[in-house]
Symmetry: C2
Subunit: 151 residues, 2 copies
Amino acid sequence: MTARIFPTAQDAENAFYEALERADLEAMMAVWAEDEDVLCVHPAGPRLAGHAEIRRSWAQIFSGPARVRVHVTQQVAISGGMIAVHSVQENFSVEGAGRGDAQPAPVWATNVYLRTAAGWRMIVHHASPAPGQAQAAPREPGGGAPRKILH
Amino acid sequence: MTARIFPTAQDAENAFYEALERADLEAMMAVWAEDEDVLCVHPAGPRLAGHAEIRRSWAQIFSGPARVRVHVTQQVAISGGMIAVHSVQENFSVEGAGRGDAQPAPVWATNVYLRTAAGWRMIVHHASPAPGQAQAAPREPGGGAPRKILH
């Protein structure tokens, strides 16, 4: 497979979410920088480091039966020459799910891109569960489940 | 109060965690960039935007009775000229808590700093619950509570 060149961070981001929707592991990994420290936190998961570990996680996710559509909203993009940071909300819907089926929770993602010799590539993907609409403005920002979170 | 100048992103990060431990709102807000789009996601919370909204959230957090110590580990720092990205684990302990008391869950944070005319300042703080030691390598990276999270 010829590596794709992403002329902008936005091109890399588009490819990331296209690969996620298609559950296309090769396309997904083509978005990540090869030779850099790369980090990936899936929602509520551990921090994965390095191409191999991140690849394994996506292979596992893509091996599941669910196919999803992802609608990216509320993007804030910050760019500083070599590095671009995009903050987005990921809104998922499961293909084939019935009207009464629970939909996945939305996710906040911080995506960091690096301008490499081979174009823009992802170096950090930090995703975490976002509160639903009903909890959009909780009184206690450090909310969380049984164990206390203090900020 | 005279604004502090942070010569490096690390200086800004140190000041951020010192302010968090001291529950010092003025010191906390002095770390954040004033004139930029700034974003803050507290664990499991909404995404807050802008100095005023972020200030309110810290004021609320600091108004609580708990005083915490935070031990920052596993830092990965990426720097690209104008922007620096630090990924860390925040490990909290509550001051005065007894041996049997539950300690707060660890948190993954992605901290983004911008080199401004007034030194390095924080522009993004994205914090989310990290799995405990026992769940350090869950089989399903999209883990989560009742609602399914697909990646």
